[in-house]
Symmetry: C2
Subunit: 454 residues, 2 copies
């Protein structure tokens, strides 16, 4: 039997991130200023982002060098292993070859640390002393806390209040790394105080937490803001995943027929898929690229390709993306990291142009797949990552049906050690599939800002 | 800078476990039957253990082959990485070279899976359908649940009731892998029912849970019992850790001056240290071997070298070991895996004969070291493993004091993702050092069974 894990040495770790903007048939249209409706320029972003990240957001250079200081931290867990899922293949009785890249080996437990580290590094280099961010379920907050700790930056996290109380383990992780964590809405910001005075028991939302983190950063010279997905530079940093995976697949002696990752804001999907998209766009590869999302928050499969705000309050720039409307409130699925109304403009453009496919899966199918994977491969996956597993299993069964030894690669973006109550709910039969709230979706889509996408 | 992680390929994984009984200057005296006081023979153990494990318990062959079926499962995470703690060295400003073997990469999150897998395998091979065990904090229960799942065995875990309610995440893990978990004392066994009728609110104890698991296994033909530490065959299986580490140290170009691991029942310590003990006993190496325990449960540093029971009720064989007395109730420290009154007979004999040293550390020092490690190396350690970290830091500071570039190796036996509430307590200043209950210890030691060890 061939190897179970394909490993790279630290010397084989990528030296550059891959920027798909160099190869896209059509670039996304520019973000627009929420007040003026004019394209956002570098200067508009300087209040909350460092120059180097703004440059990375806009550059069309194909390769962006990874600084040695970032590579030094990456080496704590990178290159991450590529696994051949021999036991899952057997359980499915499929001729398909299933591979997964495992990002749960990062000390934060997910791929989020791949971008948290360079974001902290570039801010530190430009004299910033403190970063603010928002977090929902907490994966991103944990990663940024660790990254700030590595570079001696202060870190303030606005954590959606309902998660702050429901997910105390992730809050503990942030505090171990020295972060200050506030339940949002908080008394720390004008935005938070305004909401608390109107609704003292507000459970909070990602939109509110973003407003608080941005307000905090904009108001202090020494403080910047950091975002864990959606933006171009975030996806850029995550391509280290796909660059390693492409090399590891070559070592294994296979090239994937299909590359699969879950997709919330898009950084996990873009991270794995973009280097393969390069092969498809530039080298004529026929690889299929599949972004997987929850049926309860089907941005790419049911949303509209339009300009929309990143937050509920309409404070962020307008981004050209697939969206369910900034006012859409997704049902309370357990994959908190996939409950976002919008999506990365890069991923959205590639879906629009037919380079990337999108699929949606129900919550109970996702958990059923997660249990099957855990019992075969040992690893309990994060609910977000389990969406990719569900799709990979479906592809493997299709290969069996067709009698073809197809090669499937997916990203296992994180482990589920801090998501075990969700598994309890599933095993107790208490986990439901949410029908898509069609009326709310129609209403939300009808209220999109009226900006022509062209 | 040299590499951060030293990796082995799957082909370089050990093919045999190392049995220190082949090399010990003096073998432990035999276990004694609790009723007759006579040495326990293979037949006495057949009611609850398979023949192959009984043979491994008693053999003096130096090498025991690892079956291919076990190696196939090991390959899901083994060989585990050896890390050079560059960032911790810098934080300590020490000339010492600090290495750690990281067993938290196992899907169970700790080294326990190294023995759970072969125990499940050998039972399966002899026709057993079901295993029972006890678990305290839950690391062992999780590992055995996974291992039984891999080989299609049923698994029943008696989990100490107070932990069952306080550590629901570990119970969830066991249930994901299909185990049946009972809060102990339970209604499932005569032993459990007897205690419940006398004390309906009993919080349970490891001693009670052992009684339940053994009774359950002894009463059914198709069922055996599995133990997660203490016994010779358990330590044998764990030597895969030290065999890999010794090879990895050679790749790094260093041989350790000191090898450190925490020690509860002894399997984690023996697993790392025994291959180096071989070098010391047979090849004249001067390596120091240090077993680290909590000051609140100082079996090796304050216990008596004597025959004692493994459980509170006195149902298990009498083992020759360091013990605080089977009636000793250790204070409620957070390193639940180190709260055991006794110790492995193999480790005990080596301490008695001066081959192994023992050290005890206070709980707050241990957590302070854990935080320092996490902030340097990224990984949040299990509280048990943090005892080894505390000792490694002390050795690194001694090396700085002496101005010597000593080489330190320790075992990071598990991660702390499921122990975060303990960190909360520490960071909130709510975690205390327990003075050793001297009077209780004296009373407990005075009631040891009167069996001469000499």
């Amino acid at each position: 039997m061939s190897e179970t894990k394909i490993l790279l040495t630290e010397r084989e770790m990528p030296t550059h991130w891959y920027n798909i903007q160099a190869d896209m048939p059509q670039l996304p249209r520019p973000p627009l200023h929420p007040a003026t409706g004019k394209p956002v320029g570098p200067d508009d972003l300087k209040a909350i982002f460092p120059t180097s990240l703004i440059e990375q957001e806009m550059t069309r250079e194909r390769w962006v060098e990874i600084p040695e200081e970032v590579r030094e931290i990456y080496r704590l867990w990178r290159p991450s292993p590529l696994h051949r899922a021999h036991r899952l293949e057997k359980a499915l009785d499929t001729p398909a070859r299933i591979f997964y890249k495992y990002e749960g080996v990062s000390p934060a437990g997910s791929h989020k640390l791949n971008t948290a580290v360079p974001q902290a590094y570039f801010n530190k280099k430009e004299g910033i002393k403190r970063l603010t961010t928002e977090t929902g379920a907490g994966q991103w907050g944990v990663a940024l806390s660790q990254a700030c700790n590595f570079f001696g930056l202060e870190c303030t996290v606005y954590m959606v209040k309902v998660s702050y109380h429901q997910k105390p383990y992730r809050r503990s992780m942030m505090e171990i790394f020295g972060a200050k964590v506030y339940a949002s809405p908080s008394e720390q910001t004008a935005a938070g105080r305004r909401i608390l005075s109107a609704e003292p028991d507000s459970p909070g939302s990602l939109g509110i937490a973003i407003s608080e983190a941005v307000e905090d950063a904009a108001g202090r010279e020494d403080t910047n803001y950091a975002l864990g997905s959606v933006l171009n530079h975030v996806l850029l940093h995550q391509t280290v995943i796909g660059l390693e995976a492409r090399e590891q697949m070559a070592r294994a002696g296979y090239y994937p027929d299909v590359v699969i990752a879950c997709c919330g804001g898009g950084s996990n999907f873009g991270g794995l898929a973009f280097p393969f998209a390069h092969d498809k766009l530039v080298r004529g590869s026929k690889v299929r690229l599949v972004a997987v999302e929850p049926s309860a928050c089907p941005t790419l499969t049911r949303g509209k390709f339009a300009y929309d705000y990143g937050d509920v309050a309409g404070l962020t720039p307008l981004l050209p993306m697939y969206t369910l409307g900034a006012e859409f409130m997704p049902p309370g699925i357990h994959a908190g990291g996939l409950r976002y109304h919008g999506d990365s403009p890069l991923v959205s453009q590639l879906v629009h142009d037919g380079v990337v496919e999108a699929r949606a899966f129900n919550q109970t199918d996702v958990f059923q797949s997660a249990i099957m994977f855990a019992r075969s491969e040992g690893i309990v996956p994060a609910p977000e990552s389990a969406h990719a597993i569900a799709c990979a299993i479906k592809e493997a069964l299709a290969a069996r049906e067709a009698g073809e030894a197809r090669t499937i690669l997916f990203n296992l973006s994180g482990h589920g050690f801090l998501d075990l109550p969700s598994y309890d709910a599933y095993l107790a039969g208490k986990l439901e599939d949410y029908p898509l709230p069609e009326e709310e979706l129609a209403r939300s889509l009808s209220r999109l800002p009226r900006v022509d996408l062209g």
